[in-house]
Amino acid sequence: MANEILEEHIQNEYKWGFTTDIDADEAPKGLNEDIIRFISAKKSEPDWLLEFRLKAFRNWKNMVEPQWAHVSYKKPDFQDIIYYSAPKPKKELASLDEVDPEILKTFEKLGISLEEQKRLSGVQSNIAVDVVFDSVSVKTTFKETLAEKGIIFCSFSEAVQEHPELVKKYMGMAVPPTDNFYAALNSAVFTDGSFCYIPKGVRSPMELSTYFRINASGTGQFERTLIIADEDAYVSYLEGCTAPQRDENQLHAAVVEIITHKNAEVKYSTVQNWYPGDKDGKGGIFNFVTKRGICLEDNSKISWTQVETGSAVTWKYPSVILKGNNSVGEFYSVAVTNNYQQADTGTKMIHIGKNTRSTIISKGISAGFSNNSYRGLVQIKKGASNARNFSQCDSLLMGDKCGAHTFPYIEIKDKSAVVEHEATTSKIGEDQLFYCKQRGIDNEKAIGLIVNGYCKEVLNKLPMEFAVEAQKLLAISLEGSVG
């Protein structure tokens, strides 16, 4: 029985695994200063940005790939990657009609119809989407609507051209170019990404969203997101990702930075669904991402919510530096691994300001032959009086060939801090399954029900549109994992 269901699930292939035939303008393979100059020139960047890239690259050359994560994979050959791939023709686009129809078709397949979005404009619950295709931003919707409020939401390259002062001021503030191996690599070669600035006192009227897709083969995706919320501002930001099905492993090394000023709040939600590789663990995306936010001033808040179902190897620790007094950091995560996927994910909460609070809720689910680790750091610095942290990380095991691990680091240097950490590991209870089945709910649905219940605390934090998608994704990822 178990095997049948498992088989059935294994047949369940990655449904986003198609490629789109569009001309791409690519840089030659490999990485050296010339390539960086090429990327920079291609994007007609100012000198300071080129300097930023070169500095990062020179640092990167002296860095070694981190080995500490609980994952094993074949090290990517950094000279065998195309660092720049832009869909052709690359000209200024005034409306959606000018976007390559092939790209639009891709988006329709993916279920995010830009056309429809456009048509529905004016309707209350819609989302502004910035679409990044092979590291180049293709189209940002609702730009005009947002501009009325003073919100800047555009591609990173556009921001570099039009708002260089903001980019220069904030870029590298949360993730310095020398932060770690992949952040340095990204700082050197990033091609595009999203930029978002919410001015003083503005609550973003809609959810902002970035959609990432790797398309061309042999490319790496290196995008950069920078979100700044000025005093009293609020924004909810969504990120989604897919990639075509390929035999080789592709590298995705992104950097996301969030900066919040006084009383500002940023809510960042991710549904990560990169191609996880086939059932034998062949192919898939290496997802090595650095995400960090700084609560720069008092009473600000940064909240990360992530649903991680894709990627062959995930290496990701969305963090919050709680610098301002009374600032709040949150991390809600569901990480699902199946087949031969490996995930090493968690968060860092660095308490510096007084009365800072952080909450960590992490739910790991491992099935098949996968390994799923939670790795987190809670650090209470000296002087961070009355800091408060609560962490809970639960793991659910499905099948006897997978692994679930927890590596929480807790470092406390202030006596008024209160820090709690809890973790449990278990499997779906026989009694729970029996209860459902007794009431006529079949095995498959019962598992879906229990898993969704188990993740509810996190799924509840997602914006509505995403929550529905995430629930479906969970069900697909885990179909038939337990007999």
Binding site: A404, P408, Y409, I410, D414, H421, S426
Partner: protein, 429 residues
């Protein structure tokens, strides 16, 4: 990069040279073991805080700073030195500077109990040494294997229940900077049962780096209850490695009380090698001044239906620091495992540090594993409650800390030892 590497081997090399010059001509470990231990040391070096397992405990730094030169000269001890350390209800055995001294030990004929020095062992028994604590798993075990003294071998034969506790007093008496490598091997035969107290002291007024390794075998259906009492004083820097292996239906428990010592690092590794066995590890520490206590535990669940329990509590005062790093490792075959781990800590000063890292690594699905850790200050409401009833703040605080620790102190079933721990604990408050 290469500069750091050179410095690293320099510390280890200096230590090796000094120890090799001073080492007695007699070696107590099998020759092959000594050769591989030294090779491992030369290769890996003494760990520093770049080493994941020693992140909060820089042993290399301490050797570099405090033990530049090692004199290895010791004061002789007389029975009067030992008398106050003894426990009256126990069989007291004495190990001085890494060597078992039968002249200072009590000779009692107890059925089934064998106590020997390493140099009295048969070839067969000698082969057991280093069968559990492997040089290639940790540089400090390697250091011990290469230079350990004439340690203590203790064996309880099949089906014997030792009616009174066995108390091993490990005492160092350096006269000038010393590095002492003490080793013991404890074997509890099938169906046997024993209570063991291991006390650590330092007599003398020079700095001692004490590197202790104990191997413990708890065989089928046997039971070993251990109490470790660490009171080595402010001149002592020590690493204690306990490597235990438990067989079918075996039961191993340990309660460690750390009350003094400038640096105390406890590596407690337990292998649950066969089904249906259990292990219970408990620990209590209170640190003050610039003291550093680092408790490291590893419970390796290899087989099904085993159980493990850990409870560690700590109080850090002044500029001291305390660490708990516990790892539960559940292997593929270890279905129906129950593992529980808890670490609770209280910080008494803004200069004190508590680091905790409770780790779970699980490869079996039908398991119940959980860990919890909490760190905080004294409950202000409880403090207020007591103060409102006319109890002074100081007394109230002491009362609450005592209540915090009582759960662990109660686990010490030997009255004299319990009193000793309680007395020192209260003094430290």
């Amino acid at each position: 990069m290469s500069l750091i590497a050179e410095n690293k081997s320099a510390v280890t090399q200096t230590l090796l040279d000094q120890l090799q010059n001073n080492a007695s001509k007699v070696a107590f470990m099998p020759d092959s073991e000594i050769v591989s231990a030294i090779r491992y040391l030369e290769d890996k070096g003494i760990p520093n805080n770049k080493h994941e397992d020693y992140k909060y405990c820089n042993i290399e730094g301490i050797l570099r700073k405090e033990f530049k030169s090692v004199e290895q000269s010791f004061n002789a001890l007389i029975p009067e030195d030992i008398a106050p350390l003894k426990l009256e209800e126990a069989i007291n055995l004495v190990v001085v500077n890494g060597n078992y001294v039968s002249a200072l030990s009590e000779k009692m004929i107890v059925r089934g109990l064998t106590v020997k020095a390493f140099n009295e062992l048969s070839a067969l028994e000698k082969n057991l040494l280093s069968s559990q604590a492997k040089s290639e798993s940790d540089a400090l075990i390697a250091l011990n294997s290469a230079f350990c003294g004439n340690g203590l071998y203790l064996e309880i034969e099949n089906a014997n229940v030792i009616p009174m506790p066995i108390h091993i007093i490990y005492v160092n008496s350096g006269n000038g900077n010393c590095v002492v490598n003490t080793r013991s091997f404890i074997r509890i035969g099938p169906n046997a049962e024993a209570t063991l107290v291991e006390s650590f002291y330092n007599i003398g007024n020079s700095k001692v780096f004490s590197n202790f390794v104990s191997e413990k075998l708890v065989e089928e259906n046997a039971k070993l209850t251990c109490f470790t009492f660490q009171n080595e004083g402010s001149l002592s820097y020590s690493v204690h490695t306990n490597q235990a292996k438990i067989f079918k239906y075996g039961n191993y428990s340990n309660m460690t009380a750390t009350l003094s010592g400038e640096l105390v690092r406890n590596n407690h590794n337990v292998v649950l090698a066969e089904p249906n066995c259990e292990a219970h590890l408990n620990g209590l520490f209170i640190t003050q001044g610039t003291q550093q206590v680092d408790n490291h535990t590893l419970i390796d669940h290899q087989m099904p239906n085993c159980e493990s329990n850990e409870l560690y509590k700590g109080i850090a005062k002044d500029k001291s620091s305390g660490t708990f790093n516990g790892k539960i490792f559940v292997r593929k075959d270890a279905q129906k495992t129950n593992a529980y781990q808890s670490s609770k800590n209280i910080l008494m000063s803004d200069d004190a540090t508590i680091n905790t890292k409770p780790q779970l690594e699980i490869y079996a699905d039908d398991v119940k594993c959980s860990h919890g850790t909490s760190t905080g200050k004294i409950d202000t409401e409880a403090l207020f409650y007591l103060k409102a009833r006319g109890i002074g703040e100081d007394t109230a605080r002491k009362l609450l800390l005592q209540a915090f620790a009582q759960e662990l102190i109660d686990k010490i079933e030997i009255p004299t030892l319990q009193e000793r721990v309680l007395h020192l604990f209260e003094e430290s408050l």
